[in-house]
Symmetry: C2
Subunit: 198 residues, 2 copies
């Protein structure tokens, strides 16, 4: 049991799920307030009232913990709608996504996480496992349903569409030069829906 | 004159253009052999037989110098063809680009540069000015000529197409999960050319 719960002096044990939630909340606060470098097991443990041992058992690195906190915080924002109209659903999900990317500090936080991952293989693995793959899967599921409904060409690879919609937004976030806004999101969907031929 | 030339013991002065070329070559070698952290003004100056003062005068930071070296090295590879057929030209340029991104060490070098730029505003500015904007301009020029030739819809924003072709490749480079190859490049162009409708 001591592996799954944390002691808070004078307040006894909390269930593991509550400890996990408190740790993620503390990591996200530190990440949003002070950036990735501020997310250390020491600081998160102190803020969450958890033992450092618990953090070591549950997360391979502070970067993976920061990423988990970030993902949990934005999960609701990035829910994927299914109204039955693929163009409408892609557009509304992308509108939510571009709002998130241009909000402070969420947009800078994800840029910093992806940036650090380029020279941190553990963080890169955590991002792939906990963020990129699950996010891709949600979009691919929705596109596959649209294929079954006859709204999207059957021979299309939904994974490539993910790169051309969300990937295009990451491009403007990570190699910034032009605005990320609702008009950009609309143009992304429109270009794919209609093609670029006259 | 001393600002524009560098001394090499016993060999007298070289023209500024030759010094610049030697410095860029030395920076690129260090970058490709040992990564971004190895590109210091000290090491580049020693390897190029140039004075550190010259480097300080010409580049705002070692990151900007590394970026200049990288850009000069890959410039030829990334030349933009104009055969008059936009689909063919986009495809062949993207084939060259995905080859570059998957080559060692070029792909890791650009990932590391973009990664470091997320927390280094000087490097971010250098990438925007020396890499992102000129690369965008070449693609936008080609797409604008295709619009004039009636091969691309007149109301299309060529900048958005850049994000959906090259940006999609950067997405797979920086948030790696799926392969970057010629088949991916073909699918990127095909999706935009034909749209995703059945």
């Amino acid at each position: 049991m001591s592996e799954q719960a944390a002691l808070r002096p004078g307040r006894g044990r909390r269930p593991a799920a509550a400890v996990r939630q408190a740790i993620l909340a503390a990591a996200t606060e530190l990440l949003f307030e002070h950036g990735l470098a501020a997310v250390t097991f020491e600081k998160v443990a102190a803020r969450a009232g958890a033992s450092k041992m618990t953090l070591y058992k549950w997360w391979p690195s502070p970067g993976a913990l920061a990423l988990d906190g970030y993902f949990t915080a934005v999960e609701q924002t990035l829910a994927f709608p299914d109204t039955g109209d693929i163009e409408r659903d892609l557009t509304s999900q992308l509108h939510a996504f571009v709002r998130l990317l241009t909000e402070r500090p969420a947009g800078r936080v994800i840029a910093e996480l992806v940036g650090a991952a380029q020279t941190d293989p553990d963080l890169a693995a955590a991002i792939a496992q906990r963020y990129t793959r699950p996010r891709r899967a949600l979009a691919v599921d929705r596109l596959t349903r649209a294929q079954r409904a006859g709204q999207v060409r059957a021979e299309l690879d939904p994974e490539v569409v993910v790169d051309q919609l969300w990937g295009a937004c990451y491009h403007r976030l990570l190699l910034p030069d032009l605005p990320i806004d609702a008009g950009f999101a609309d143009a992304l969907v429109r270009n794919l829906i209609t093609g670029i031929r006259p």
